[in-house]
Amino acid sequence: MVNEDESVFGLVGGNDRSHAVFGEKILIGSVLVLFGWTVALALVAVWLRWLGHLQLRQRRRVEAAWRNKVDDLVLRGMLLPPVPRREQPVVLELLLHYRALLRGPEAARITAYLEEQGYAQRAAQELRARNRWRRARAADLLGRMRSETAVNALVRRLRDESEDVRAVASRSLAAIGHPRAVAALAAALADPSRWTASAVAADLVEMGPAAVPTLIEIASATDSERPGASDAAVTAVRVLGEIRDPRAEPVLIWLLGAAHDVNMRARAAAALSGVGGPRTSPALRAALRDREWPVRAQAASSLGALRDRSSVRALSAAIEDDSWWVRRNCAEALAKLGEPGRSALARLAASRDRYVRDRCLAALENLALEAKAGLPTPDGKTGMPPAPPARPHP
């Protein structure tokens, strides 16, 4: 016979039977609450699924109804009849889809229509919403509309409290491509959020030569005596390297020789490989004697990327460097310099220094491998697409 007052799992096991009854009631109540919660969630899952299907069907129906009218607007400039409010999001998406695909008068027609009908204005107003996701969505829409009327509002959003909004605003400004946006974007490289800075860097690369003068200004503002170069300046140098505009050569060479910060000098060396120019190779050869190994390693890599055969001698000397990375990059660079580089590697492969010998043998082996695989050699013997160049990594 079970004694309820002294039972296991009788809640308190005391002498008061009412405790056990009370405990049972709590348990039953809890089970019912959890059961209700589970059923409600399962119903939510069903509802979400059903809602998703319904929205998809609705969207397809509205798209089908408006596609021809939108075509008339885009291709023939005919007026679009008033769009019912509930169908506006779908029609807007349709127009933005066309806007992303088209250039020229058709694209301009879509932007003009969106501005005339107040879509751009409404999105600009949304940029002041309290909810950050609404602000971000509005910034995204304005960028996709390519509405120049929103440039000022978007520039202000580059100082938004949310890094997500700042990143989207930057992308939208780059998409609009207005000259007024360049300075604001370049200034945003100093954003405390590296995510925003990363987005801005991608956008400035996309804007290309238009951004170069401002980037040069930021990069040259680096104080050569200061121990840590600012993130903005270093990022500006990286972006300049990606844009590959020859106007950046003087400032990059100056930074390579004069910047106090090791990272800045190494980044300048990397950027020079993309920019090139008459003074680049001598500057990089001089950097092979830099006091810091990351700069020397990067300079070696960049000399290889430039494929300037006059660097063979300097690289052959630098291959005896104390740093593993410098030796490695020198050997790889020599392998890219055609026959003179290959001869230097063959000569150095007989070196008494085991590290030098190993690196040279490895580089020669890679050359042989590339030749067998049909990959292009430095002499350009094959017409196959080249292997993706490895990003220099000191």
């Binding site: 296991v8 009788g10 308190v12 096991g13 348990l27 969505r137 993706p388």
Partner: protein
């Protein structure tokens, strides 16, 4: 007797209540965080990562031991990832099957004599191979080290990029996985040292050209139960631990580490059974001791798919190893416990593991024993016991269903209504046998550990993927 019973009852109920509160809190935090993450993804974060010159290159390290069934498919999947610049380093850890031969045949490997930097300790490397077909593929063949840690260390030695992604040979990564997981490294490059992503079960899914093209629930009950379990573990709790700053585990199936940080702490420990958790805890300890700012993060959306065992034998072996790994890590890092100087890991993460993960097994098994004894001695009040068991089950089901619905609402990977219904049913079924089995295996692992039986790295037998 009544006092003893009262103490037992109160202890069990307090434990149960605390467990429920902890899980509910973790779920609430995860719900908020995953919502934020999904909204961020919708704003085109992938494009920014893809286009930005600040995106760092990644070395993907794949440890393979007797993976002939899936190795080529895995490498194919990896080489098609969407990412700017990356390399694949496959480490053949002394396979006795045709793993290396398959790789040689598929990618035209040739031997390389390029010297490797032995920054981390590992067993001798027999040879390094490079591919004539894929310029960014390196294969390392080494002596078997008896554990995954040794193989991964060899891979990290061969890696040339500043970030190292560690994954399994049988894992399939979504094409945008790297784009998503690298974001914390871009956001805070100086502090972020490790990022983990969600591991999901690939059984039941269709794989085409190295990608999961259709998400489906496995028909095998054991695998389906694991789907629910993984969902609960990754979606409902790990995001929360990351938010709290107390993340104690980045799954060995998928994680990205800053190579310099891994080298600084000495790499993966070959003596650790749960080498993934051991590394993460050691990183916490090292950077805390050095008083250097660091971040270890989990993101819910970079997804990697992995095959779950479909046999009891395979599952038992896997779970016993996991539990022994957990216990070993907890013991090795007992000095961090409840130390404010160790941050949230020491104050919250480790106590959670001790009390609810390691202690939970003991409580559960002791609970079954007490009930048995009580039943024999006639001290069992059956109606209350049944209600209590029902409540525990209802809570478990509610938590699993919540995770499932959250995944359904936020994931971009839709599965059929039948699959969702089947998984919902599994949230109930796992209470009848599966959970008890887990408790028994974990308890057995604990006993084996205390009796000193040695653990081995015994990878599961792979069936391969269902191709579309």
């Amino acid at each position: 007797v009544s006092t003893f019973v009262a103490v037992i009852n109160t202890c069990f109920l307090c434990y149960f209540l605390a467990l429920d509160v902890v899980y509910a809190t973790l779920f609430a935090i995860s719900f908020y965080e995953s919502g934020r993450h999904v909204r961020r993804l919708a704003l085109g974060a992938d494009d920014i990562v893809l286009q930005s010159p600040l995106t760092p290159p990644i070395s993907i390290v794949v440890a393979a031991l007797n993976e002939e069934a899936t190795i080529v498919a895995s490498v194919d999947a990896l080489r098609l990832l969407e990412y700017g610049e990356f390399e694949i380093v496959v480490v053949d850890d002394g396979s006795t099957d045709a793993t290396l031969a398959r790789l040689k045949g598929a990618y035209t490997l040739v031997r390389s004599t390029a010297p490797l930097r032995n920054q981390l300790p590992c067993k001798p490397v027999h040879a390094a191979y490079v591919s004539r077909r894929l310029p960014n593929l390196v294969v390392i063949s080494k002596e078997n080290g008896g554990c995954k840690a040794d193989a991964v260390n060899a891979g990290i030695n061969a890696a040339r990029y500043p970030l190292v992604c560690v994954t399994d040979a049988d894992a399939v990564l979504d094409k945008d996985t790297l784009l998503r997981i690298v974001r914390p490294f871009i956001e805070r490059p100086r502090e972020t040292i490790a990022v983990g992503g969600t591991v999901r079960v690939i059984n039941g899914c269709t794989v085409s050209a190295g990608r999961v093209t259709r998400v489906g629930a496995p028909r095998n009950l054991l695998a389906a139960l694991q789907v629910v379990e993984y969902m609960r573990a990754f979606i409902a709790t790990r995001t929360a631990w990351s938010r709290l700053g107390g993340l104690f585990l980045i799954s060995g199936a998928f994680g990205v580490f800053r190579k310099a940080a891994v080298v600084e702490v000495g790499g993966f420990n070959p003596k650790a059974i749960g080498e993934d958790m051991e590394l993460v805890l050691r990183m916490h300890r090292h950077f805390r001791a050095a008083k250097r700012p660091y971040r270890i993060v989990f993101l819910p959306d970079p997804v990697v798919w992995t095959e779950a065992p479909e046999t009891l034998k395979g599952l038992r072996s896997q779970r016993k190893r996991w539990h022994r790994g957990l216990l070993q890590c907890l013991w090795w890092n007992r000095g961090m416990l409840l130390r404010p100087s160790q941050g949230m890991v020491g104050v919250l993460g480790l106590p959670y593991l001790w009390i609810f993960e390691a202690g939970g097994t003991v409580v559960e098994v002791v609970g079954y024993a007490v009930i048995t004894v009580a039943a024999v001695t006639g001290a069992l009040y059956v109606p209350f016991l049944l209600l209590f068991v029902l409540l525990a089950m209802a809570y478990g089901v509610a938590l699993s269903v919540s995770a499932l619905v959250m995944d359904e609402a936020r994931s971009q990977r839709s599965q059929s209504s039948w699959d969702v219904a089947w998984l919902l049913l599994c949230t109930v079924l796992e209470n009848f046998g599966y959970r008890q089995l887990m408790a028994v295996w974990r308890f057995a692992a604990m006993v084996e550990m205390f009796t000193g039986r040695k653990a081995t790295w015994d990878p599961l037998k792979r069936k391969g993927f269902k191709t579309g």
